[in-house]
């Protein structure tokens, strides 16, 4: 997951293609030179990156190529096509695509679904409309310029004749396909009629009636159910196991040891138990006795000791601007503070699972709630030693991703078990498997020193970051880009890094990195503002007023969100003594977000009453989905601020919601969300709102209680919610 700058305009060369199908339906597709070439070279039928299909009965179908994990992409992206095609949203049907290279990138992650799809979707919709308009013009022998589209029909204004799209398909199919550059693409919020409105999710009817949608809902004739027991200390091998005894237990059909590999993101060693129901497999597991061979004894206590030692060392300098040490010596005021956040788990409500069907021919078919199914297919091909083209992967709805399902360990386990039993199997992890075999958001320590000049501005920032990794390199999700703010916002800046060696698997966790370190930066900014005798808003606006070299973020857009959130929250208003407001800004994954949180305290117990959010992600596509992401991110931030995963003897100590207690409804704040709808290209929203929510809340806790939160979870700073 990388942060990518969105460039305005059409960044890649796209082509339109039109096909009239045997059924008489018209298919209009958009493709990229690269995928068209792949299809041609392979001699396969052409499949566009995405398409619109108009049937004889007027039904409009739009394919959704990316997996849906709750980020709303299956609704928002088809809305773009409907907008440009000028059709009633109610006539649109959305189809989930399987994994197919000809669709291009099929990943949930990095908030990239919306920006990646924006051009192609508008081209598909506008291209189809161009052809239908030309078809009507030809039918009536009138200039196309006299025709307009209205709600699924082309209307000839001077004569008031109209024709439904479905009556124009044959003529449209015979017309020359326009070059993409001829199409007029809507891009400003003022041009939209459907986009920006509140549209419920396309899968809602199935969700509210309990129809099968998710990975664990797949049922195949003769399918068996499996559990897979792994060493609690990551990567440990099976020395011995009582599998003969397990195989005789009620309902159990197979029990076997899997040697596995040493890849922590792949097929780890373990014991598979397969049974006629999942409960029988899991019951048999309670009788399973495995002796593991593992040398790993990582522990949270040990990490703390190592971090303390490293914090006294210099670390590796990643960036140095100006003269930070001299500037600190001559500063009017120097502020120093250290921050710590723990490991946290993704805790998807749907524990990892995958269904695999092994055919006697050696081919495999899988149903996978994966955020990155292509990587899963490659992993299976490499691990099982079978050709990638013998593996078909169907995409299911995903019961929560947050980055966990970018790693496909559960897919390769299911595939291995299916081949071993030569049939169909659903591997379902238990909650404990899920929490103890996660790819955690890594913990880190941040040691900050800031210098303030005689005009009460921050002029120097020295940062020592102690993180986790292997062989001196940060682990997945454990780095900080050296250009991250406040680099570029102060003349004297230094970033140093030390790395604690770890065997614990880490990985991307919603807004990787940002969702953790933004809290440290934005909390410390409040401390610097206080030491400088300045209001936190004025201090931040000052910090965002000037850059040294290339600005690390768009200063104007950032300031605008900060000012809007402050104004909506009534920043500066008189509050009771036990009440506080706190703020933070951030930029990641193309989105600019500021929050102001309002907190009320009763001693050390606090309630986050309300969060005012200001968001600039360009034009909003689905107002409902967009607000859902902002609300969800704020609640995720608060939930996660009170959680931690700790380790002992190389294994996670938490396994279920009894000791990893997600936020409940009675602790949940109200979220008031405001969008600054610029005509910049849209960016995604699954990630940007979370990072600044945590510090806005903890800064508000300080304002309400006088307790500065320098350690998470909150309880480590003496605060309960």
């Amino acid at each position: 997951m990388k942060t990518t700058e969105q460039k305005p305009g059409l960044s890649r060369r796209a082509f339109l293609k039109v096909v009239i199908m045997a059924s008489g339906s018209l298919m209009i597709g958009v493709t990229k030179a690269s995928t068209a070439t792949i299809a041609k070279a392979a001699g396969e039928p052409w499949i566009p990156n995405l398409y619109v299909r108009i049937d004889r009965d007027g039904r409009i179908t739009i394919v959704s190529k990316n997996p849906e994990a709750g980020q709303g992409v299956k609704t928002a992206l088809p809305m773009v096509v409907a907008e440009c095609l000028e059709v009633d949203w109610k006539t649109v049907h959305v189809e989930q695509a399987p994994l197919d290279d000809r669709y291009g990138r099929q990943v949930v992650g990095g908030s990239r679904g919306t920006p990646d799809g924006w051009d192609d979707l508008r081209i598909a919709g506008a291209g189809a409309l161009y052809l239908l308009t030309a078809a009507a013009a030809r039918k009536w022998s009138v200039p196309a310029s006299q025709c307009i589209a209205r709600n699924g029909s082309i209307v000839h204004r001077p004569s008031d004749r109209s024709a439904r799209y479905e009556t124009l398909l044959d003529i449209a199919a015979g017309l020359p396909v326009p070059d993409v550059s001829e199409l007029k693409l809507k891009r400003r919020p003022g041009e939209f009629s459907l986009l920006g409105s509140f549209v419920p999710g396309v899968d809602n009817p199935k969700i509210v009636t309990g129809q099968p949608l998710f990975g664990c809902d797949i049922r195949i004739d003769g399918m068996l159910y499996a559990i897979y027991e792994k060493c609690p200390a990551y990567g440990g091998k099976v020395r011995s196991a009582n599998i003969e005894e397990i195989a005789k237990l009620p309902g159990v059909t197979h029990a076997f040891v899997v040697e596995g590999t040493q890849d922590l993101t792949g097929l780890l060693p373990g014991v598979a138990i397969v049974a006629k129901s999942w409960w029988e497999a899991d019951s048999a597991r309670r009788r399973l006795r495995v002796t593991w061979r593992s040398g790993h004894t990582d522990s949270t206590i040990d990490y703390d000791t190592k971090a303390e030692g490293l914090s006294r060392e210099a670390g590796a300098t990643l960036r140095s601007d100006g003269h930070v040490e001299t500037a600190l010596e001559s500063a009017k005021t120097v502020v120093t503070a250290s921050y710590y956040y723990p490991f946290v788990s993704h805790a998807n409500m749907e524990p990892q699972n995958c269904t695999a069907l092994y055919h006697e021919s050696g081919a495999m078919e899988l149903w996978a709630p994966s955020q990155n199914p292509k990587a899963g297919r490659i992993l299976i091909a490499e691990t099982l030693g079978i050709p990638e083209n013998s593996i078909r992967v169907n995409l299911t709805r995903i019961g929560g991703g947050f980055g966990r399902r970018l790693v496909n360990d559960f897919m390769v386990e299911a595939a291995w078990i299916a081949r071993e039993i030569r049939g169909a199997v659903q591997l379902q992890w238990s909650r404990e498997d899920d929490m103890r075999h996660d790819f955690y958001r890594p913990a880190a320590w941040h040691h900050f020193t800031a210098g303030i000049n005689d005009r009460n501005s921050m002029i120097a920032f020295d940062h020592h970051f102690v993180t986790f990794g292997k062989d001196g390199r940060p682990a997945s999700g454990a780095g900080i880009p050296s250009g991250h703010y406040p680099a570029g916002l102060v003349p004297h800046f230094r970033l140093r890094r030390s790395v604690i060696e770890t065997n614990v698997p880490t990985g991307p966790w919603r807004s990787p990195g940002h969702s953790a370190y933004c809290w440290a930066y934005q909390s410390f900014f409040d401390e610097v503002a206080l030491a400088a005798g300045r209001d936190p808003l004025a201090f931040r606006l000052d910090l965002l007023s000037k850059s040294y070299g290339k600005p690390p973020l768009d200063l104007t857009r950032t300031r605008a969100t900060l000012e809007l959130a402050a104004s909506k929250a009534g920043w500066g208003r008189k509050l009771d003594d036990n009440r506080g407001l706190g703020m933070a800004f951030h930029f990641d994954h193309g989105g600019f977000v500021s929050h102001v949180a309002e907190v009320v305290a009763d001693g050390s117990r606090v309630k986050v009453e309300k969060v005012y959010s200001a968001v600039d992600v360009g034009p909003v596509i689905n107002l409902s989905g967009a607000k859902n992401q902002v609300e969800g991110c704020v609640i995720d931030a608060l939930s996660t601020a009170q959680l931690e995963i700790t380790f002992a003897n190389g294994a996670a100590e938490q396994g279920n919601f009894d000791n990893y207690g997600l936020l409940r409804i009675n602790q949940s704040p109200e979220v008031e969300c405001h969008f600054l709808q610029s005509d910049n290209p849209p960016s995604g929203l699954g990630e940007p709102p979370i990072a600044p929510a945590t510090p806005a809340i903890t800064n508000a806790i300080f304002a309400a209680t006088g307790t500065r939160i320098r350690k998470l979870p909150l309880i480590r700073s003496g605060i309960r919610i």
């Binding site: 509210v208 309990g210 129901s277 909650r431 919601f657 997600l662 936020l663």
Partner: protein, 159 residues
């Protein structure tokens, strides 16, 4: 294995289950009623909520064999066309994000509204605090329950 009869969504199902098998797994793996979801397995997250004689119950924490003779309603049986006021409100407020916990949320809300047709925010918080949502749809759950109360009140007025 023991043979039991369960009344689920108005129909009697005869099935053979291990005596201790929780209702959740009888529904999912024996009857293919997969709308009821597994998440914690220890009765604290609410994803597997079903209605038993009108009361919300964690199906992962009770043996199926103990449910004989009781009226069980799962999400599939609330109303197959999604016309129950709570289902309509859930769609209209667009509550779901990933959607995985929502069957349990909906059935818990149905039970709340059955005994309290106009719940306050506090009533909602108390009744719904046994149902976790990792996506953070809580603000919308509050709104949807109030909207469902309105829909139900209108339906009562109309009939």
């Amino acid at each position: 294995m023991i043979r039991i009869n369960l009344k689920i969504n108005g129909s009697i199902h005869t099935l053979d289950v291990p005596p201790e098998m929780p209702l959740l797994w009888a529904l999912r793996d024996k009857l293919n009623l997969v709308g009821t979801k597994y998440s914690c397995g220890i009765g604290i997250c609410g994803s597997c909520t079903v209605l038993v004689n009108g009361n919300p119950l964690h199906a992962c924490a009770v043996p199926a064999s103990a449910m004989a003779g009781k009226e069980i309603i799962t999400i599939e049986g609330l109303s197959p066309d999604g016309s129950h006021p709570v289902q309509k409100a859930w769609n209209d407020e667009d509550v779901p994000q990933c959607g995985y916990c929502q069957a349990g949320q909906i059935l818990t809300a149905v039970a709340l509204l059955a005994r309290n047709p106009a719940p306050s925010d506090e009533d909602i918080d108390v009744a719904m605090s046994g149902n976790l949502c990792r996506c953070g749809t809580y603000p919308r759950i509050r709104k949807a329950i109030k909207r469902a109360a309105e829909y139900a009140s209108r339906e009562r007025g109309a009939s």
